[in-house]
Amino acid sequence: MKIQASIRQYWPTAALFVALIAIWQLAVSLTGIREYLLPAPLSVWNAMWDGEITWAQHLWVTSWEIVGAFFMAAIVGVALGVAIAWSPLLANALVPFLVFVNTLPKVAVAPLFLIWMGYGIFPNMLMGALIGFFPVVINTAVGLSQVEADMLDLGRVFHAPKWKIFVKIRIPNALPYILSALKITATAAVVGAIVGEFVASQKGLGYVIVTTQSSMNTGVAFAALVWISIVGLVLYGLVVVLAHLWAPWAEGVD
């Protein structure tokens, strides 16, 4: 049974999770630690549904930023990867430049985005995309070039044009590599969006966390963290499902 198998696989995770929550709740109750230092899980749960904070709106804004960042990184990353694999000239021109961009501490660029673009969803998307695009470039380029020499000889024997080798052999070959990079991008997009919100925002879950610094409302900060991780997990999960659907021949480690 499939259900039984997944129960067998996931029960330790679930058990550990429940145990940790319980220990946390107990520790807070028994030690009487102040709420602003460490709120109990129940307070976090209550804060997550607190009507005073417009959670739905913040969730909406942050989710948009994350999804936007993810798609930007995916599209730009794949396009750059294809360019690099297609032409040695482009590879020589682009690769050193991309490596340089990747070594920049992206977080340090966030204030510049504020100066250039002001407040809004777009600069935060851009931040997420900037953090998440590099692995996609590399994995796309590697996946496109990891084709057996004998297979390419087969293409040459039949005088197959370069684009046909790309469409029929190289791109499908790169798909598992790209999907595996997109799992990293999904996480990076979350980081980027929140960093962007930290630096400049009036909405979003990152903004909520910043405001709790002055109000000492730690429960709300925890609640925002939980919401962020839920968004991140959903996106990650979607990429994993996509990988199962699009590249079932390359089942790897998730």
């Binding site: 057996e148 004998d150 297979m151 000889d153 087969l154 293409g155 040459r156 024997v157 039949f158 005088h159 197959a160 046909k164 029929k168 052999i169 499908p172 070959n173 798909l175 590249a247 021949w249 390359a250």
Partner: protein, 267 residues
């Protein structure tokens, strides 16, 4: 030979390595007749795989002339089927779609070859596996699928580069028989069969399969001997135990190792 399909004359090949030019092949002159099964045996690095690629037009010869079917080979020629040591099937395609790949690469209508592909899979004992992915098949079955792929466009010439080299000994012997059956040893006249150029490390395999065995010397690869294998066809498993088979194998072994008659066993 009037009806030769492959004609190599004074073929040499030198490539540039980091340490300087390396002569891989020298003075290769070889004719392979229509419908003939010729094996190339030789030590590792003697350039036999390179020679195969020169015939295919995949690598240029540095000197000499190469003609296939009367035409000079200057670029890859499409009238060949190639089988490599690894099956190199596309992992994401069904076995059927892998077999159909040459039609797509050559820009032909895929549907037109659908029946032919099924016929080939049937012949190779893979009819039940057309819709399976390569990873669901054993190594031997994958290699049979890659043979079907090589035969799809019905090329007059098959170039095989150690096709059974990665298989275990029993599967290997099995595949040799399979290959001869598919080649049409029993049911096709000599001039209707495909011409096969077969690279192998195995002396036994070369003798068992071939009409001729060409023995190559170490680098630069030259032709050390060209032996006619006058064993009766169809070849059978029992043949491997015959005296004639043993004599031929021994002769090739001696040419390869350079040991004189009677010297074996003394060392």
């Amino acid at each position: 030979m009037a009806d030769s399909l492959i004609d190599l004359s004074g073929v040499g090949m030198t490539y540039q390595a980091a340490s300087g030019p390396v002569e891989a092949l020298a003075g290769i002159s070889l004719e392979v007749g229509q419908g003939e099964f010729v094996s190339l045996v030789g030590p590792s690095g003697c350039g036999k795989s390179t020679l195969l690629r020169i015939v295919a037009g995949l690598r240029p010869a540095t000197v000499g002339t190469v003609t296939v079917g009367g035409r000079t080979v200057a670029q890859p020629i499409p009238d060949i089927g190639m089988v490599f040591q690894a099956p190199i099937l596309l992992k994401w395609r069904s076995i059927l779609d892998n077999v159909l790949l040459p039609a797509e690469l050559a820009g032909k209508e895929k549907r037109a070859y659908w029946a032919r592909a099924h016929e080939l899979l049937e012949m190779a004992g893979l009819h039940g596996f057309a819709e399976k992915l390569p990873r669901e098949l054993s190594g031997g079955m994958q290699q049979r699928a890659s043979l079907c792929r090589a035969l799809l466009l019905d090329p007059p010439l098959l170039l095989m580069d150690e096709p059974f080299g990665a298989l275990d000994a029993m599967t290997r012997d099995d595949m040799a028989l399979e290959l001869l059956r598919i080649w049409g040893e029993r049911d096709l006249a000599r001039d209707q069969r495909k011409t096969v150029l077969f690279v192998t490390h195995s002396i036994g395999e070369a003798v068992f399969l071939s009409d001729r065995v060409v023995v190559m010397s170490p680098r630069p690869g030259r032709i050390a001997a060209d032996l006619r294998i006058d064993l009766p066809r169809p070849r059978t498993v029992e043949l491997r135990a015959s005296e004639a088979f043993g004599q031929l194998s021994l002769e090739i072994f001696r040419t390869l190792t350079g040991r004189a008659v009677g010297a074996t066993g003394a060392a």
